[in-house]
């Protein structure tokens, strides 16, 4: 073991003097995490805001309720009430008013409540509610449409309920007050989404974690492929001529790869926590996941290297494996959202288990990391065992 440490210490000393190790191990993943964190993560601390114009041509109690309880009640929505349709169109349609761009003179969407809206709502007639979207604010216009559809859905359920009441009572009721009573009745069951809302990493942590494991497959290469470098440089002959075992040489390489991997992830974790306020979760759980991820990366890189003749060839192959597994494992975007085969296939990648483990840990207790840790360790031990046998066999001057 002392010999392995001697070799590992030498390797680490060499890496400390090799600028590319800093770039691949720390600078690149940190830069990527920062870029994603700052630039591509608008959802963090995002507050929805929209300005909707309303032309109420009905002026009924029902239309007032729609404006106050549906539109104004929506968080972040500012409502501009206008008298005429022309005024409203001027705020959302450039063709109508191409110069209407100054602040406060445009809206993301226009709701036109037609005359007889209230009467129609309380009858069984078809109800019309026009929504005109601003092409310059398609997202917020889409949300306006969603609000209208939601209102239509509610209206349908209220109508069905009121009709059922009338059928049961065998008489007509005051549909307006009955409808209000139906709306104020709480739902008998509520649905809590624990898979999407609570078991997801926030954007910053997602990208920090993604970059950490993505680049881990590059940083551990420095330890494993250095064995092939030693052969290229001729120093492997010296190591093999020394009174030490081949196993101690391999152990030394494994120790250096492990330490380089751990340090690079740790630096990224600390930095993203301090700079980007990333929330990695329970430290013990995170430590177990990182440990298992490093071992899985070492195993896969060892396997790939055992089929390579040179360090360059091994680095290229290991990088390709890292990129493919990284994309498949959802380090850049959540492939689980894609559904279907790709969502299932992602679990052949240790990256997916790492990301899944962190996401589960963010919503659950420490026990949730057990499966991801075991799977990643299995990845590492199986591929690593085959890889080490191959590397040992290839240890010749």
């Amino acid at each position: 073991m002392e010999t392995a440490w001697t070799i590992a210490t030498k390797d680490l000393k060499e890496r400390l003097r090799d600028r590319s190790a800093y770039i691949v191990g720390i600078v690149a993943p940190l830069a990527m995490a920062l870029i994603f964190g700052f630039a591509l993560n608008p959802l963090k601390n995002y507050e929805f805001s929209a300005t909707y114009a309303v032309v109420d041509l009905d002026q009924s109690e029902v239309s007032r309720l729609f404006i106050d309880d549906v539109l104004r009640a929506a968080p972040g929505v500012e409502v501009l009430q206008l008298a005429t349709t022309e005024e409203g169109m001027a705020l959302v349609d450039k063709e109508v008013n191409p110069f209407a761009e100054p602040e406060g003179t445009s809206a993301d969407a226009l709701f036109i409540i037609p005359p007889e809206f209230g009467t129609d709502v309380q009858s069984e007639r078809e109800v019309e509610l026009q929504v005109v979207g601003n092409q310059s604010a398609q997202s917020n216009a889409g949300i306006a449409v969603a609000l209208a559809r939601g209102y239509a859905g509610e209206l349908t359920s209220v109508r069905v309920t009121v009709a059922t009441i009338e059928t049961l009572l065998q008489k007509e009721v005051d549909r307006f007050s009955t409808g209000l009573a139906v709306l104020s009745t709480p739902y008998p069951a509520t649905l809590t989404d624990v898979t999407a809302d609570t078991k997801q990493l926030d954007g910053t942590t997602f990208y920090a974690a993604g970059m950490a494991i993505f680049f881990l497959f590059f940083t551990v290469q420095f330890g494993i492929t250095s064995l092939l470098e030693e052969r290229h440089n001729g120093t492997l002959a010296r190591l093999l001529a020394a009174p030490i075992s081949k196993s101690s040489i391999l152990a030394g390489k494994a120790i250096s790869a492990f330490l380089i991997g751990i340090v690079s992830v740790a630096v990224l974790m600390v930095t993203t926590t301090l700079v980007l306020e990333a929330d990695w979760g329970n430290p013990l759980g995170v430590a177990l996941l990182v440990l298992a991820a490093v071992i899985s990366a070492m195993g896969i890189v060892a396997l790939v290297s055992s089929y390579s003749r040179t360090a360059e060839q091994a680095a290229t192959m290991a990088s390709m494996a890292g990129v493919i597994l990284g994309f498949l494992g959802g380090t850049f975007f959540d492939v689980a959202q894609a559904g279907g085969l790709i969502a299932s296939l992602r679990f052949v990648s240790p990256h997916a288990w790492f990301m899944q483990g962190l996401a589960d840990l963010s919503a659950g207790d420490l026990g949730v990391v057990f499966l991801p840790v075991v799977v990643m360790l299995a990845f590492g031990l199986v591929t690593g065992s085959v890889g080490l046998v191959g590397l040992r066999r290839g240890m010749r001057p």
Binding site: T6, K10, K13, D18, G234, A237, L239, I244, S245, P397
Partner: protein, 318 residues
């Protein structure tokens, strides 16, 4: 470092065989090296030198034969035998990102040196290879000759009983080459057994007490330089630039033991002798007694190049 040298031999190897697929790289090689002896393995590229020393150093598994280093059997897992061997590979085998002291300390630790013993030995070797003043500079900043010296220094660090140098002067400038050859001479004088492979005839002639000529994986001939020269019937040629009674001188010189032929030429007398170095004083004495006035002497000694050509049918550097 304890060693069994009861028969005086540091290295004994016999009938070493190694094949790579259908290619027979080493086919029954055997020789021995005593303490303080420098043995040269002389052969062209591809003759089997590097494979032979790789087996002797425990880098390669052999297919057959035996290798004993100081009485210990050598194979790739034989750590006891490996402690006796210092290897200087043909290609530079140093870490360019580390300085000379760090390179030496690393390999010293692999050979079990620790603490003050390691510090002391590192300083000693730095003095031997004349890198003390550059010891803390990264080795990738060294000249080619300095790197070669460091390459040799690493092999010496643990006081090996047998030092194996595989073509240590390839690609080295003349000044560094001479420094390396002087170092090897000193090591031999200090009692270290040295196995030296080269395809430079003049290095083998200068350094080696005995020489094995290897080609196509077999030792073609072995012995001292003189033994080898005599083995193939090579003789020295001595040319006397002379005047006077050349006929009488030539006749008298032709009667001397060790002189195979004497003939009068336009410039003087030409002689074919077994050993010019030994015979020259007597030749000059007899010439003087027979009335020959010698104005100059040219000596062409038989050399290993000619021996090698005779034994293998090809030149040493082919």
């Amino acid at each position: 470092m304890g060693s069994d040298l009861s028969n005086g031999n540091v290295l004994e190897c016999s009938d070493i065989r190694k094949t790579f697929g259908d290619f027979v790289a080493v086919d029954g090689v055997g020789f021995h090296i005593g303490a303080g002896e420098t043995y040269g393995l002389l052969g062209p590229n591809g003759a089997g030198k590097t494979t032979t020393i790789s087996i002797i150093a425990g880098l390669l598994e052999r297919d057959g034969g035996t290798v004993l280093i100081a009485g210990e059997a050598m194979d790739p897992e034989a750590t006891a035998a490996k402690r006796h061997v210092g290897l200087v590979p043909q290609d530079l085998a140093i870490y360019p990102d580390l300085d000379a002291r760090e390179n030496l300390r690393f390999f010293g630790r692999l050979y079990g040196l620790r603490g003050s013993e390691l510090d002391h030995r590192v300083d000693e070797v730095l003095d031997i290879i004349e890198l003390r003043d550059r010891a803390n500079d990264r080795s990738d900043e060294y000249s080619g000759g300095m790197k070669r010296r460091l390459n040799i220094g690493i092999g010496l660090l643990h006081h090996p009983t047998l030092l194996i140098l595989d073509e240590p002067t390839v690609g080295v400038d003349p000044q560094s080459r001479n420094a390396i050859l002087e170092s090897v001479e000193r090591l031999g004088e200090e009692g270290m057994a040295v196995l030296y492979t080269t395809h430079y005839m003049e290095e083998a002639e200068r350094l080696c007490d005995r020489i094995g000529i290897i080609d196509h994986g077999t030792i073609k001939a072995e012995g001292t330089q003189r033994d080898l020269v005599q083995l193939v019937g090579q003789r020295d040629r001595v040319r006397l630039v002379a005047t006077g009674n050349l006929a009488a001188g030539s006749a008298a010189l032709g009667e001397l033991p060790g002189i195979d032929d004497a003939a009068v030429t336009a410039q003087g007398i030409d002689l074919i002798v077994e050993n010019a170095h030994d015979e020259l004083p007597e030749i000059l004495s007899v010439a003087s007694r027979t009335g020959v006035s010698v104005g100059g002497v040219d000596v062409d000694t038989a050399n290993l190049e000619a021996v090698f050509l005779h034994l293998t049918g090809r030149a040493l550097r082919e």
